[in-house]
């Protein structure tokens, strides 16, 4: 109990520290000069240190002295730990001291106040409004959103391709099986960076110029300068969004009811079709009743100069984003496919036969017996792949897609010269994404674990 209280105390201090550092600059800078000089660079990491100490206490509060150490002498128990800890502390102090000396020699001071300064560089592509007059922290947010966008698109496409290929690898059809196998062997054995370069510098450069492009699906244009799509112009968008949310909530309720019905009375509701109908009908109703209307802004060819054309209006997807999404999803899909295959193969044949002998039909066998078990095997490694995809999206820097690494660890670092602060922020951002997903995964794993006696 004591440990738990200590843990919460440390978490609280960590949060407070982080909060203060983000919004009010470095709180410790008012301390005495000597202390400031030695400890300053290490102060970046204080919230992290507080959090980790809190975490350790939280964990220790659950596990008391384990049986493993029963009979070990005190000296054997404490001396290796002491040596390791002092080694780590020494390395940290060495680095801190050097960093302090170096920064003093170069006349750089340490702190995060530069985040408030004007960024004064432009970004080619951003989801939110951004221009050069915005501060660095806003550039950071916009760049992070770009990273998350590419990760999101990549995850969607790699899941679609991966599931199809994974199932195709188990097909009874010789040709399909082998095509899928060759796809996997081919794309996963080529470095991702080369694939990104190939799509960006070689494949997409072979596309037509804007003035020569022929329309795809009537209104969209795939050109060397990117992919131009019609933009949606909504009236009363909020009503539409509410209707979608209402539809989703009602679907969840229906599913819950269906499961209950199945468990108590043994009846099956066609949940999928009902959900589909709700998802289409409810939003469609808003067009008729709620005053929602949708217009399209179709891209139009516009001449900039004698030889330069561009499409105006609509949504322009830059070629960098296309190349990155293509490469990331094709590459990661091979790993997802292997996870899916392993998951389906991991279910023993007896399960299928047992389910069939209970009188379930093929769809029910798949839905009620195979998939719940296969997903248990598939989801953890697949999440790992999603995480890898998110981290790999940092390769965007190589083809000048304005993601976190290019904008923040590249341009902003060049302009401000604050290597330690910026690289730490970038790494901590990726680290927190990873750790958050890992924590979520652990929780999920625990919740679906087969409970045995």
């Amino acid at each position: 109990m004591k440990f738990r209280l200590l843990a919460y105390l440390f978490f609280f201090i960590g949060f407070a520290d982080l909060f203060v550092k983000i919004f009010y600059g470095n709180i410790f800078s008012d301390l005495t000069e000597d202390y400031y000089e030695i400890a300053n660079p290490i102060l970046v990491f204080t919230p992290v240190i507080f959090f980790s100490i809190g975490g350790i206490f939280l964990k220790e509060s659950k596990v008391s002295m384990s049986l493993e150490n029963f009979g070990t002498t005190r000296i054997k128990y404490y001396s290796p730990q002491f040596i390791c800890l002092s080694l780590v502390v020494l390395i940290f102090l060495f680095f801190t001291f050097n960093a302090q000396m170096n920064m003093e020699n170069r006349g750089i001071d340490f702190g995060f106040s530069f985040l408030q300064q004007e960024a004064s560089f432009d970004m080619q592509f951003s989801l939110m409004d951004y221009d050069g007059q915005d501060p660095y922290w806003w550039a950071y947010v916009v760049a992070l959103l770009n990273t998350l966008l590419v990760a999101f698109l990549g995850i969607i496409f790699c899941t679609i391709i991966g599931v199809i290929v994974g199932i195709a690898r188990l097909s009874p059809n010789f040709l399909i099986r082998n095509t899928a196998a060759w796809y996997v062997e081919f794309f996963r054995n080529i470095p991702l960076l080369l694939q990104i370069f190939f799509w960006y510098y070689a494949a997409l450069r072979a596309l037509p110029l804007p003035q020569d492009a022929s329309p795809l699906f009537g209104v969209t244009y795939l050109t060397i300068k990117g992919y131009y799509m019609p933009a949606f112009l909504w009236n009363n968008l909020n009503v539409f969004v509410y209707s979608v949310i209402a539809a989703i909530i009602s679907i969840i309720l229906i599913r819950y009811y269906a499961v209950k019905l199945r468990d108590t009375e043994g009846k099956q509701l066609p949940v999928f079709y009902i959900s589909l109908i709700i998802l289409i009908v409810l939003p469609a109703l808003t067009f008729l009743v709620g005053g929602v209307s949708l217009n399209f802004e179709i891209p139009v060819l516009k001449q900039l100069s004698a030889t330069s054309y561009i499409y105006d209006g609509g949504i322009a997807v830059p070629p960098e984003l296309i190349a990155l999404t293509l490469a990331l999803s094709l590459y990661t899909a091979t790993f997802v496919a292997e996870c899916v295959r392993a998951g389906i193969q991991g279910i023993s044949k007896g399960q299928k036969e047992a389910a069939a002998s209970l009188g379930l039909n093929t769809n029910q066998v798949l839905k009620l017996v195979i998939m719940p078990q296969a997903l248990r095997i598939i989801i953890p490694p697949t999440t790992n792949q999603y995480l890898n995809l998110t981290k790999n999206s940092s390769l965007a820097a190589a083809i000048a897609y304005p993601d976190l690494v290019l904008v923040f660890a590249g341009t902003a670092l060049m302009q401000t010269g604050r290597a330690i602060e910026i690289v730490s922020i970038t790494m901590l951002t990726y680290l927190s994404i990873s750790l958050a997903i890992a924590a979520l995964m652990n929780w999920y794993n625990k919740s679906i674990e087969i409970k045995e006696k």
Binding site: S66, C84, N173, E185, Y201, A202
Partner: protein
């Protein structure tokens, strides 16, 4: 359905059905084949939209006709079982065959028939196909980077020596086998480092000093991945043992280390090694960029290695630990003689995957300015004399990497089979 009894195939009308079915399938494939290779459209008398889908429809009817269970013909049964089980499968089969036939002529003519390889300048490339002359001219650059041409023998000799030393284990006698681990973990890396340092870097024995900035191409890929591979394994082993340790401080330090490196992308680690790391060193202490990169990748991959090895340690039954302890073995004795030999055998595939990932990650050192093969391609691509051959370059590099990685993964399967012990 009675109307279509003549379409229903069984063993009674097998002769006619199979003959007509195979004929239809052949016609459909022949149509696509002629269309894509010779631009002849057999079915051009039909309206364009129907003629586009007609091969599929004809082929589908043909496949439907020959779908007979237990026909008695061995070859027909094999065919049906493998590519013609259901209508949906037949459609997919046809689509794949058609796609292959359609894709063959353009790719063949681009890569071989219309391609150029003669000459030694851009003017030699006149055809519409690929310009392999570009690869031929730049070949040495792609392999050795900016390393001076007349000194390339040094890289070759160094690699041959390192590989020869590496095969030492194959010839070891029974007596020496005890020390093999010692050799590979300690002596071999040092010897390899000395060879590469003295031969490739030079500066001694009358060899010209060549700075690491001039190294590059595929040889740099090999150097970086070789050293990272050698160093990250022991690091991973120590970290894995640390994470399984019962001492809280050791365990948490290992966990923190592993989770930190596994949580960040390699590109930021490389950025750190090139911009942030020099700040952490004493001012007069100079460390070469290549060395920094190798350290960074080693630290990074060490964490992944550790997780793989930990998996092996965890999968060993508890009885092994208990048995070793009951024999009076201490921590290190138990791990070196009982636990690790078994655990490492189990994790061979995982370790190979990690190494494969490492090799595939090496092109990333391009972002910190080391001109490894991807970097050399970027350099060649922007050379004003050789503009517009990006496709050839990337295809060439992809093929090389594919061969290396595919060979490695196949070798790992062999290794896995070789060290498989009955459990």
């Amino acid at each position: 359905m009675n109307k279509f009894t003549f379409l229903k195939s069984d063993r009674s009308n097998i002769q006619t059905v199979v003959a007509s079915g195979l004929l239809l399938v052949t016609i459909s494939i022949l149509d696509v084949l002629l269309n894509s290779f010779f631009k002849i459209n057999l079915l051009s008398f039909l309206p364009s939209k129907i003629s586009f889908f007609s091969p599929l429809i004809i082929g589908l009817i043909g496949f439907h006709l020959i779908r007979i269970e237990y026909s008695g013909n061995k070859y027909l049964d094999i065919l049906n079982k493998n590519i013609n089980t259901t209508t949906f499968n037949a459609i997919l089969t046809l689509v794949i065959i058609f796609l292959v036939i359609k894709a063959l002529p353009p790719s063949l003519s681009w890569m071989i028939l219309d391609a150029n390889i003669s000459g030694d300048s851009k003017d030699a490339c006149t055809g519409s196909g690929a310009c392999w002359t570009y690869i031929k001219v730049w070949f040495r650059r792609f392999m050795y980077g900016m390393y001076p041409n007349e000194q390339h023998w040094r890289i070759n000799t160094a690699f041959i020596l390192v590989i020869a030393l590496g095969t030492f284990g194959l010839f070891a006698t029974e007596k020496m086998k005890k020390y093999l681990a010692l050799y590979y973990v300690f002596i071999y890396p040092i010897m390899a480092f000395l060879i590469i340092y003295y031969l490739i870097s030079g500066g001694y024995f009358g060899l010209e000093w060549i700075e690491t900035g001039a190294w590059g191409g595929l040889s740099l890929t090999f150097i970086v991945s070789f050293f990272c591979l050698i160093f990250c394994f022991p690091l991973g082993m120590i970290l894995a043992l640390g994470r399984r340790s019962s001492l809280p401080a050791v365990r948490y330090i290992s966990i923190g280390y592993i989770e930190f490196w596994r949580g960040v992308p390699l590109i930021t680690v490389l950025f750190m090694s090139s911009v942030m790391f020099p700040m952490f060193l004493p001012e007069d202490f100079f460390m070469d960029k290549l060395v920094r990169v190798i350290i960074a990748i080693t630290l990074f991959e060490g964490a992944y290695c550790a997780e793989v090895i930990r998996g092996g340690l965890q999968s060993l039954p508890r009885g092994q630990y208990d048995a070793a302890k009951s024999l009076g073995m201490g921590y290190w004795k138990m791990h070196i003689f009982v636990i690790l030999p078994q655990a490492l055998k189990l994790v061979i595939p995982g370790i190979c995957n990690t190494f494969l990932a490492l090799v595939k990650d090496t092109p990333l050192i391009f972002v910190v300015g080391l001109a490894e093969i991807a970097g050399m391609l970027a350099l060649a691509k922007t050379n004003p004399k050789w503009l517009g051959f990006a496709m050839e370059g990337y295809i060439f590099a992809s093929i090389i990497f594919w061969i290396i990685c595919y060979a490695m993964s196949k070798y790992s399967y062999n290794l896995e089979a070789k060290y498989k012990t009955e459990r």
